[in-house]
């Protein structure tokens, strides 16, 4: 166990340093190769919120099996992980709150009730603060993790129906997609205030950051496109068309991957040129999507037919399917 954590830290360190794409990429590939060959290769897990099944499922991506189903009432939907990846925070929009899961014990250890409709969730990678968006409101709750679970520390005003949340790698800036305001709030974490609001496409839902934290992408559910945002400049720099009802974006192998809820596809785009590259057929109503830590697999939660699709981001092919519980959403940072 200790050894695994050590490997994980080293592995992440290399990733963060790789600002020079070619060199860093090589070192990263070499390390990934080592990890794959060694007996201590990382067990990669997907933590899937099965919203209609009222459970969070721990899925081993190598064996493609559910290791454990953890009961979580209240239609669990959003998920985020603590900076050390040992704890999962899960939103319960119908049960109005957040559940805390110890991922080693695979148990719910704490719960906090919240007003409104807690849905989108994100964690500050530096401070560990947890941010929860109120789908029915115009606010993000700020929660502080402690030995006893989570405490509500405050609120930050946003646009209407805040949805997807992301925090820059330096922990200084929080970004929130405001679904009903067609905008993104850029929030200064220290002062807990919105400093800028950026207009994007219609009804942005998922929000994903580039690895360097300079660019944000939103999936615009109604205008059927993805907006790219230059965070420092505080403006939208372009859009790329997607399938119908784009929901969430993942970045892997230098490409962007968007779940298209109504098209049952994942649209692949080039984040640099914002050109559409391909569409990959996946399951029914794809929703949550994320790249594994090693960047070799993109995992898609298919809400309609209760499955995960695994995509190789280099070849753009489906490499596997995993059955899940009812109504997988996996909205957020659900891989570790």
């Amino acid at each position: 166990m200790m050894r695994r954590v050590g490997v994980l830290r080293r592995f992440r360190g290399v990733r963060r340093l790789s600002s020079s794409p070619i060199r860093g990429g090589r070192a990263y590939l070499a390390l990934a190769g080592l990890l794959a060959c060694g007996g201590t290769a990382l067990a990669q897990e997907a933590l899937v919120t099965a919203q209609l099944g009222n459970a969070v499922e721990v899925v081993d991506l190598a064996s493609r099996k559910i290791l454990q189903s953890i009961p979580v009432p209240g239609a669990p939907a959003g998920i985020a992980l603590s900076p050390d990846r040992k704890t999962a925070y899960v939103t319960r929009p119908e049960g109005h709150g957040v559940s805390v899961i110890d991922l080693a014990a695979r148990k719910v250890t704490a719960s906090l009730d919240l007003p409104g409709g807690p849905l989108g969730i994100g964690v500050n990678p530096k401070s560990g603060e947890v941010y929860v968006a109120d789908w029915y409101g115009t606010r993000v709750f700020v929660l502080r993790p402690g030995a006893e679970g989570l405490t509500l520390e405050g609120e930050i005003a946003t646009g209407q129906s805040p949805s997807g949340i992301a925090v820059t790698p330096d922990g200084a800036t929080l970004l929130v997609a405001n679904r009903e305001s067609d905008s993104v709030s850029i929030i200064d974490v220290a002062s807990r205030r919105e400093t800028r609001r950026v207009a994007v496409g219609q009804h942005p839902f998922g929000l994903t950051l580039s690895a360097d934290g300079a660019t944000a992408y939103t999936a615009n559910v109604v205008s059927n496109d993805v907006s790219a945002i230059d965070i420092a400049a505080g403006r939208e720099t372009g859009r790329v068309a997607t399938g119908q009802r784009p929901y969430v974006i993942a970045l892997a192998a230098g490409k962007g991957f968007v779940t298209d809820q109504y098209s049952n596809t994942v649209t692949v785009f080039d984040p640099a040129s914002l050109k559409r590259l391909a569409a990959i057929d996946v399951g029914d109503h794809p929703e949550g999507i994320a790249a594994t830590r090693d960047g070799r697999t993109v995992v898609v939660a298919n809400w309609g037919d209760n499955s995960l699709s695994l995509i190789d981001p280099s070849t753009l092919t489906i490499t596997g399917t995993v059955e899940t519980g009812d109504g997988p959403r996996a909205f957020g940072d659900f891989l570790r």
Partner: protein, 176 residues
């Protein structure tokens, strides 16, 4: 009387949460039926988006765009209520189509953001027809009244699907 109460609730919901799209928990329903008729015959009944006469209570279908993606239709039900729908996917070879409701009163069908898929699969001289739906409840905020909660939405859609599939089975199995 009941209709009036529901209509009042719906009006209130529209005024108060006009900008809200839907609740946070989408529901789904799937219903299948085995029909003793070839798939081509079943598809001839359900595969024309501009003819919704197989759906219970539909009196009239008016639309444009044929069976092309983005084609629209307005179903007029017995009693005068209307449902506005749009075709999202159409594959005659696979005998499947997907459409969504753009506009319906929750007193007609207590759902929001409804999408639906119809699949017709031939199994020899028999056919399996499946009707699937994904939707949010009629009430768009916390603490829905019982008429507009998740269970009411699922019950209404499932009832529609069962009656619709029985209708198609009866039509397809009757004569040639």
């Amino acid at each position: 009387m009941k209709f009036r109460t529901l209509a009042a609730v719906a009006a209130l919901a529209t005024v108060t949460f006009a900008a809200q799209a839907h609740g946070p928990t989408r529901q789904k329903v799937s219903e299948s039926i085995e029909i003793n008729a070839p798939a081509d015959k079943v598809w001839a009944i359900v595969g024309n988006f501009q003819d919704g006469s197989w759906i219970p209570l539909v009196e009239k279908t008016e639309g444009k765009g044929g069976n092309e993606v983005k084609a629209t239709r307005t179903l007029t039900l017995k009693g005068g209520a209307t449902v506005e729908e749009e075709l999202a996917k159409y594959d005659a070879e696979k005998k499947t189509l997907m459409y969504r409701i753009n506009k319906v009163d929750v007193k007609t069908l207590p759902v929001n953001d409804y999408s639906s898929t119809i699949e017709v699969e031939g199994e020899g001289d028999k056919t399996k027809m499946t009707w699937r739906g994904a939707f949010y409840r009629g009430y768009m905020n916390n603490d829905p009244p019982p008429e507009l909660n998740d269970e009411a939405a699922k019950k209404a859609v499932l009832g529609l699907y069962k009656a619709g599939l029985e209708n198609v089975k009866a039509k397809a199995e009757k004569g040639s």
